[in-house]
Symmetry: D2
Subunit: 385 residues, 4 copies
């Protein structure tokens, strides 16, 4: 008798999402008992966030749905409304795809849209990176998604414990490490040649043969209205450090337009300085850039996650990652140009840290796919207390 393949539907709504699930997607695709379904939406479809959809296709995946559900004009209300539109659109896709399990990642509003749509359609939900604490408002959303999820793939032991504390049943929780580590553990970390960077972005053409600081700072949604000033502090700080700077554009959050404006204005006022500004890279290039940077500056969670595995020195700025579990490679700074300046300098001098396996060893995707093959699907959850 032919066993029916389980249909696993992965929703990718941003470039960060894709970096987290790429190896899981490959593992599902190669698993003969599973069928991979892919929905790409929101900022993953947008030119201004780097056309992640093209990267997904280039990697050999064939999305079932492409759904625009991001309202233009990133602010608090578009974030709420985009969640609403996302639910409307994703539920239609789920109705057609009839997945056995929906997989979602992390804690952004697009993730919430996925969780709500799956939840009200009685589809079991697997959540990657639950149980983390970053110390900002995303925590509430992340824990809310945990309560709507039926299978948990936390990335660390502390996160796993937190999920248990939240009352989730043990048999639903599996720490296989973070699937994003799979990528760096299995790739060549050397940077592309100079030519690759030639017609990318604005500012100075990036030179991969020179030491550089990598800067990526996302807006913090609870201090909406201050993203511009916060970014200015960082830019002014690193401006004083005599080394090349590579600045990446932020995610689609409330405040990202404002923050992008800070970058553009800074660029226009400092046209001759050694800054390169690039919208986006395929995840692999982004990781190569992390691996080879003298110091990571900003608040990207990759600086913490992949940074721990790689040991790259990082200065994490502001509240966005406050309280998040991290390796020794990370030190924190306020939004203050002097403090940032000093800490970045210190980290550059310190140099590379030893590898940490806090976020896993690089085999998460394959382990998750095996678990999704056989785990009992039960949407009735019980609190353990």
């Amino acid at each position: 008798m032919k066993i029916k393949k389980r249909k696993i539907c992965i929703v990718i709504a941003s470039r960060a999402n894709y970096a987290r699930v790429k190896y899981l997607m490959s593992a599902i695709k190669q698993n003969k008992n599973l069928q991979l379904q892919i929905i790409v939406g929101a900022s993953a479809l947008l030119y201004k966030y780097g056309n992640v959809i093209d990267v997904i296709r280039a990697d050999g995946f064939n999305p079932d749905y492409e759904i625009n559900y991001l309202l233009d004009g990133e602010n608090l209300i578009t974030q709420a409304k985009s969640t609403g539109i996302g639910i409307i659109e994703l539920s239609s896709a789920f109705l057609k795809l009839k997945p056995d399990i929906v997989v979602t990642v992390a804690d952004r509003f697009e993730t919430m849209a996925t969780a709500i749509a799956a939840s009200y359609m009685n589809i079991p939900l697997a959540h990657i990176q639950g149980g983390e604490v970053s110390g900002n408002i995303d925590d509430s959303v992340r824990h809310a998604i945990t309560k709507l999820s039926h299978i948990h793939f936390p990335a660390t032991n502390k996160s796993k414990q937190r999920l248990k504390n939240l009352g989730e049943e043990s048999w639903r929780i599996f720490n296989y490490g973070c699937p994003s580590i799979d990528i760096i553990a299995n790739m060549d970390l050397s940077l592309p040649k100079t030519d690759f960077f030639k017609d990318k972005g604005t500012g100075k053409v990036f030179d991969p043969n020179k030491p550089y600081i990598l800067l990526l700072q996302h807006p913090v949604t609870t201090s909406y209205g201050m993203a511009n000033r916060q970014m200015v502090e960082t830019l002014e700080a690193v401006k004083e450090i005599n080394i090349n700077k590579l600045v990446l554009w932020p995610n689609a959050d409330a405040g990202s337009n404002e923050l992008s404006k800070a970058i553009r204005d800074f660029h226009n006022q400092n046209i001759t300085l050694p800054f390169s500004y690039i919208i986006n890279f395929p995840p692999e290039i982004f990781l190569k850039l992390i691996a080879n940077s003298k110091c990571l500056v900003g608040n990207s969670s990759s600086f913490i996650r992949e940074g721990a595995y790689l040991g790259t020195p990082a200065v994490i700025i502001g509240d966005r990652q406050r309280g998040r579990e991290h390796g020794k490679n990370v030190i924190f700074s306020k939004y203050d140009r002097h403090e940032i300046f000093q800490k970045v300098n210190k980290q550059i001098k310190r140099g590379i840290y030893p590898k940490s396996f806090l976020f896993g060893r690089g085999n998460s995707g394959i382990k998750m796919s095996k678990k999704l093959e056989t785990i009992k699907l039960n949407i009735y959850k019980e609190l353990t207390f």
Copy 2:
């Protein structure tokens, strides 16, 4: 110096919602440091669910917004999409009203829409009836709303403890009992005269002077597709009991159309039997009917909550309230006409139970309004573990 009044925005999305917050609304209205804002939406606007909006107006309240956001055709996908539409619409209203606190009740999808909209707009959210466990899928939604809420008004001590277990900070949690008890504790429980019922509903005209069974059964969303059969079991069971039956129409849930059809069909096939079918009543009439019934049959949470305070015997059917905290007045039954028949008979013979204060003593609204006056508003939550 004039103190700015705190604006408290209450979202009423169903008749059950209104019954829960009516006394809180009165208390806010009379509190000179608070300003009451009212949004009425979803099924609270619909004729088929009893035009709750008219009752609200008749009670002297003046809604700021009336918002239709319920997609017709109650099924799983309309439930998901209605949540999405609700978020889109409620966020617009919040943008205009600029409330200092949004108040929401219980665990339905309309409540989730309120929670998401407030959450992404950085508005502190107060949640009534968090921490409860009913044993069905609403639990996941209720706990997810807890994680998005900043002020908790659980209705019992067990619920309060559960909120703490879920990692909510103690200073955010207040057990003032359930505000729905406020109503029964302060009202005349005698039934209206016969005339009142004369041109209401279909079937036999309801006679308030004769003993009767009150029947209200909502569809259970996780067993979608079985609501019709489940309702038939209940109707066939009480049909065999020689006493008048008053049947109320269910809430707007996935499955309610199906269940309504069961009622209509039963009515057409049993046209001469002593059944009265009525769409809806103002909350007070509903409570009078509970107070004077010989036995409550179905799965309305009011049978458990107000039922405990009143001591009215109740037979709760199926999974919807499985595991919910309850007084001694309640016994449970499966969807089985024989079991239901026997248990209802037993309860009728048993008669009235002693009053229980499990769900409070009837002063919740005034206590909540005082707390909302002064509580620190802080949207940064921390897990306690």
Copy 3:
């Protein structure tokens, strides 16, 4: 070389829609150069409007999409918003189905949603029943849809001329008669046996062997708020005529809830009178009922259209069809119980009228399907003046 089949996508959003396109659908299905795509949505999915979706399936069609996009609470704003939701949902379906031509019917807001979605996605639009004038506000919508349409299938010569007057190019306009006539021209008009009606609806069981008046009155959207009173006039008028009455439920329009309430109230107050109330029938049964009625009363356009072909006497009430082209079988009345009473009596005495071919001879579907096979598809329209 294999010719690619043209994909023809038909959107059915109400029971009236389906009656208009059923024969066209059959003709497309049998045409080897065409591929039929079916979207069923809005009130065609709802129990309260007769589950048209079940009828469609029973007729052997297999819908590609079922889309709920009707907001509950029929009023002016839900009508506007349902149009918006319809556009959002239909455009997703069009993106997946990639039709070569979209076919839409008549003038309701669901039709407008179809027209807008197809229009902005650059898909040629074929419109059935354009160019008609009914004298109410639907005219504006109908003519607006004409301006968005690329292929016109008007139902009469006057309508065809009006389309030309509106500046539409001649080569885009084809009067093949109304496809709804196809149905009556090809069917057995005798009524089902008594048994068929036994467990349908409320009120007296309908007796197909006795003479009867058929009553169907839709709310008029521009006199929103008066639908209830208007319906009462009609019901009170026919109440005085000593013959059975069969009352059908109205369409999903602003005002339909209000009008339905009038019917329910009338039923409750006149429980013993010879009135039967039935929600809906398959289109064929509806036509049999028209064919065999002594008099048609209300404002259904079928009374005018199919009524002309059949010659059934009709009294058309109010503004909804004011100015619409009609056969000799029709006389008009104001919303006045005395006038209605007299005119219905007069028509019953007059009896059946001769057949009129004003709306075609019953071969529209096959002619349309042939035209859709070969017509040039050009979305650049030019005004002829």
Copy 4:
């Protein structure tokens, strides 16, 4: 007795919209029998389209509503869906504002959203710039909006005649010229000083004292997918002309991202050439730039409209304005760099043309506001044939 002021609600959804209605808004504001209501939405709220909202505020207007309803990722489907979202949002605003008349402009999808929302809510709609023919697909939308409108303010006599031909009643049509002419007729046309341009945009800083070509090219929605190549032709053509070039960014249409990319790529590859790229200006600055340009290149309708009044030579490229009424200042070109090059050169040599009053004399706003004061409001339209 106090006369109730008529509430006139103007919906501004793009920078072009605002340029068209600014003087009408002033006239309404100053008219003591009218009350001005303002809704600003869609691209008029976005940084990337120049924050028109800030300009509106700076001009002393106080918008009642700001509504984001543009879905990010300009393509055919987001255009359709944005229309849907626009209808949902605008109808909510209309419900609160209860305008007596809604005013809308031109032919974009945001205009359609306004027309549909007003139409289904039975609010009389005044349409500016109806009856025009541009020869592209916008024509269908414009004529559809005409059929939904109750008061017409066409900009030319030919347009007025076309509205009559379309069957609109004469008493609803008033040619007061185009309100956009009001602005240029009443303003100082001299350019701002050099300093004004110093920190605006990228590329060379624009020098207002040197001769220049003004280039503004919008994507054409029916040739979606070709906008990039079309823009390249224009840029390559003007590159060969030895004079400064000022390039403005396009509107939010399907294809605008693609077209913007062409500009960015061209800029990166021609970094040293005399091109200035600026996102947007207040309408007045835009007009000053038109007035003082040696030649206008692209497809902006302002080049035709205000260009006629000013006599500025213009080369209109491609289909977007094909067939639109125009003055002698305009010549047309295909998307061909050689043809564009020659025609622009010819126009620069030819120099300024005589003033034309084809689009009015600059008193439209005041005339419209007077008409809106007194015109009969009747939503029942009749075709004149």
